[in-house]
Amino acid sequence: MKTTPLTAWHKEHGAKMMEFGGYDMPVEYQGIIQEHEAVRHAVGMFDVSHMAEFLIEGEESPRFLDDLVTNTPSQLESGQALYTPMCYPHGGTVDDLLIYRIAPQKFLMVVNAANHDKDWTWIVEQAQKYPSIQLIDVSEETALIAVQGPLAKDLIQPLTSTNLDTLDYYHAAFDVPVNNINVHLSRTGYTGEDGFELYVKADQALALWEKFYELGVKPVGLGARDTLRLEARLPLYGHELSEDISPLEAGLGIFVKFDKTDFIGREALWNQKTTGLTRKIVGITLEGGIARSGYAVSNAEGKPIGVITSGSYSPTLKKPIALALVESSYAKPGQHFSVMIRNRAVPTLSVKTPFYRRPI
């Protein structure tokens, strides 16, 4: 199993560990609910060094990326980031990822750890048509620390001369010192809170992490990362998105830009959009058990209509929540369903998502 520069630290600090995306990762330290609440009400930090990073350079890089993904990286200003699905020709999803524009002809792509090899192979293959493109896999040398929560800005500001008030959401500052360590500092995250992600050279990650720890930032494991992202209705690859689930079905239509010339999967996605989607993701809440990924969903008459893609207990709502992929006609809020939990049909209600939206 692979390790991050912080794996030993996690073990020394009593984290429960598990394999995730090929890495030995912390699930929780003190308890998922406590860690979840630290991020919602104060500040927490995540070791997300398992995520993979690719540099994409060359004259044709904006055009190449516009062809590769469903959103439009060519329209980014340097220092901006975007979230985008990346699709197969049939409209299924290869992965969902972040793209930063570092310079006019230089981009950084951040993909899911579990999809590292698959994405790399796919991207290298697609780049064959673009002779000027250079691809560099910088995953091994790059560690990533996410500092998330309403107090994240106040915590980081004294450690850097970069004015964080001018660093907008989905913007980044490259090669800036934080506590005298050079990072790529971006205002992004996966929790529904304000926060920052710090890309740092692998050998400097521990020093930065320990500085945050010394300042009282709570370490948070993948367990709370999942409950936080679920409350914020952020998709997880392999659950809300997959080779068999398109971004439109996952409710990510705003990241699919049909107005650009072409991109891989355009035709299939356009067909889905114009003929109408047969299934969509909907949010549900329930009592009497937790709906887990893979559980069957039926309508009020007991007819199977879909499947749970993600489900957990929501520490903020203090009840179970879930996302389900259901027949489109059932994908509106306010409908009564059943989820089969251990051979019992547990009644549920579909609700508007996100389940949680941070106060402005």
Binding site: G31, I33, G223, Y313
Partner: protein
Amino acid sequence: MKIPENLKYTRDHEWIDDEGRVGITDYAQESLGDVVFVELPQVGQVVKTGEAFGVVESVKSVSDLYSPVDGTVTAVNEALNETPELINQDPYNQGWIIQVDVQGYGEELLDAKAYQQQVEGE
């Protein structure tokens, strides 16, 4: 990790006391993490050694609860419906799960020392 001397234990991490009260061990609650839901049996339900009588769900996982003995459920801890975290906070007292009128032992239960040895081996 607490393993009270006065209880008997199963290899599946349940405990039972002299009164037939059943719960899960400190080790089990610690491994599960935050308990957020408990599915309790009905009073009067017949339980059999090693068979599931209920379910405990933590944020991340679902685990069956196995009966340490043969018998009939005489009481269930209703407080767990509203406050399942009692299992984390106080697994041997307020976090008890069911009480059983014991009619037989399908297999030998472990004493505290033997249970501790098992846990240390895991």
